[in-house]
Amino acid sequence: MFEGSEHIGRAVRSLRGTVGATIICLIALAAAGGCGTPPRGPVVFYLDGAGYYSSAGKVNRGLRRAGYTGHFERFSWSAYLGPAHDHLVAAKSRYVARRLAGKIEKVRRGDPDGQINVMGLSAGTAVILQALEQLPTGIQVDNVVLFSPSVSANHDLTKALRHVRRTLYATCSPNDRILGSLIVNADGKFGTPAGRSGFRIRRPGAEAETAYRKVVNLHWKPGYLAYDWDGGHTAVTNSKFIAAVVAPRILSSEPYPLDRSVSCRLASRQTGGGS
């Protein structure tokens, strides 16, 4: 019995030593591996949709195919309790949005001239818009790409657009059956989701029109069938579409010739010009 307790004591001592060594290793790894320093150069933050966690890889592949060499970070915002919970609860969480805003702020402060693009799918777009609204004054991202946004088409973007340097793109398609079946949008508002009709200026005015010059709705068209986007909700994240349609817009430093902002369309309607 005495010999047995001695063995146990020795085992406990050796275990304590191992645990201590492991903790030290972890701290060293964290310090070296960079939970401290934010990435420099071009960064893309990507947010998946509600209950759909496999689009990041396709988007990443598409960007790489188009020649993107920067950092790609998938921001996990889901509670992993299913799509309904993500859509109705997690997407509206101020805490999650603050976490994303904190990340963006950290990267921007670390590299004031670096390119930061934020992309999201479906309910992830609600988190993005909320995070942009929470960013401190003077912190801006370069481009925002909202794939099939499940936020209301009348969502007021003016506050979020203050933190966008260049353009906010939103893909939309009338063939999106998932968005067509939504009762309430991920931002908690009712009405047509932006992913079906595109964003609209809710209250036209000088300020809103100036802000919405940065908003470009990418409407689905049959030509996109060649890039594997048939207008479906998640098909928009196909790597071919990303490489051909999205990447040229966000990777170039100049405005894309085909872009027509929401303000342009509104002005044309007011002058009786058409669409």
Binding site: A66, P174, N175, H219, W220, K221, P222, G223, L225, A226, Y227, D228, D230, G231, A243, A244, V245, A247, P248, S252, E254, Y256, P257, L258, R260, C264, R265, A267, S268, T271, G272, G273, G274, S275
Partner: protein
């Protein structure tokens, strides 16, 4: 104990589900009520799967589960070697059948060739100094191939070097989007039967067909002044598809920037020559003269109207009621499949005239508030959308 063979209907599918097993058990136990309602119906339906399959096939053939007429048009154009027309047709098919893999592969196949076609045309237009056309063509290239490596640079270069030359084209683009690019016509373009034809606005027999009307948007529409007359384009739907990329954009947007004469289209009319560039010079010259005469005739005839308005019950781009002239408003009551229209005329809120079943090409007179007499003519009726185009001239 095994299931007696006579209890299993011949040709039926043995379902591994619970209800089927229970049913068999009850039948074996001699329950006379077993196998009623749903299980029986399902069993019968499944038992006749061959008949049902044949019925589904027949249904598919009759109703058509294929990508449709536009797709077939695209296939024909592709076989002809007209990739840009094929692309347009496939796009039109794609709008109706976005899930069709045949259409998708058609677009994939014809896209690069169509882009190459427009690229060639853009280069030719640049050489000939038609910078607005060149700009539109490069935009089409980019529209077809968004990842095109040269097009964005070419567009920016034209925008920098010839801002005044492309001002109208650019304004049209900003106003109407992709449909405005359809004004870019290829060299020596002669509208094929698939693509459509350019016609004068005068109501003719050909305008009675159930065609798609490209016309000036309302509000800025069609008031020809002085010698400047309007050229209207009546076209088949083929050339629409590629251009109307924006879902909200309409075919109506394709015509003139401000509803007046469209230089690009008129130029096309006057210079149009048959396809195939090996045509002899004399033939080309003769055709050009003929076309020029026809265009001139068209313009003269269009110019006789003071106002041209489009009214519609179903096409929400157009109002149902609109002011026409001299304080008089016209309200479309209805159209008929015989291509006639019922129109009411109002002076303020007071109805002054009912025009009943007025066919295309016929006219009726009315007096304006000033007492002056005018003649209202039905120019076109598009019954499917309950749309009518009317022209007003002094009586």
């Amino acid at each position: 104990m095994s299931t007696p063979r006579h209890l299993i209907r011949r040709g039926s599918v043995r379902l591994p589900c619970l209800w089927h097993r229970r049913l068999r058990r009850r039948r074996l136990a001699g329950d006379p009520t077993a196998g009623t309602a749903v299980p029986q119906v399902a069993s019968v339906l499944l038992g006749r799967w061959r008949e049902m399959f044949a019925f589904a096939c027949v249904l598919c053939v009759i109703v058509g589960c294929g990508p449709g007429k536009a797709y077939r048009t695209g296939r024909r154009a592709e076989k002809r070697g007209a990739a840009h027309n094929a692309y347009d047709a496939y796009c039109r098919a794609g709008r109706k059948h976005p899930g069709s893999s045949a259409v998708a592969s058609g677009i994939k196949r014809s896209g690069p060739a169509a882009a190459a076609f427009w690229e060639d045309e853009a280069n030719a237009a640049t050489v000939e100094g038609r910078h607005a056309d060149a700009w539109r063509m490069w935009m089409r290239v980019l529209d077809i191939q968004p990842e095109h490596s040269i097009a964005p640079g070419a567009i920016r270069r034209i925008e920098r070097q010839y801002p005044t030359a492309i001002a109208d084209a650019r304004a049209g683009w900003l106003r109407r989007g992709a449909p405005s690019l359809a004004l870019a016509n290829p060299r020596g373009a002669k509208p094929s039967p698939d693509v459509g034809v350019i016609l004068a606005a005068r109501p003719t027999e050909s305008s009675r067909v159930d065609a798609v009307y490209w016309e000036a948007p309302l509000g800025v529409a069609a008031e020809s002044t002085g010698s400047e007359s309007e050229t209207l384009v009546v076209s088949g739907p083929e050339s629409v598809a590629a251009s109307d990329a924006d879902l909200g954009d309409s075919m109506a947007d394709v015509a003139g920037t401000d509803g007046r004469r469209v230089p690009g289209i008129t130029d096309e009319v006057t210079t149009a020559r048959p396809e195939g560039r090996s045509t002899s010079v004399d033939t080309v010259a003769a055709t050009q003269t003929e076309d020029a005469d026809r265009a001139e005739e068209g313009r003269r005839k269009v110019g006789e109207f003071l106002v041209i308005r489009t009214l519609s019950k179903r096409d929400h781009r157009y109002p149902r009621r609109a002011r026409i002239i001299d304080g008089i408003a016209a309200r479309l009551k209805d159209t008929d499949s015989d291509l006639d229209a019922d129109i009411y005329l109002y002076a303020g809120d007071r109805r002054i005239k009912k025009i009943r079943e007025l066919p295309v090409g016929q006219s009726q007179t009315f007096r304006g508030r000033s007492g002056k007499k005018y003649r209202l003519t039905i120019l076109n009726v598009h019954h499917k959308t309950r749309t009518v185009r009317i022209g007003i001239k002094p009586a």
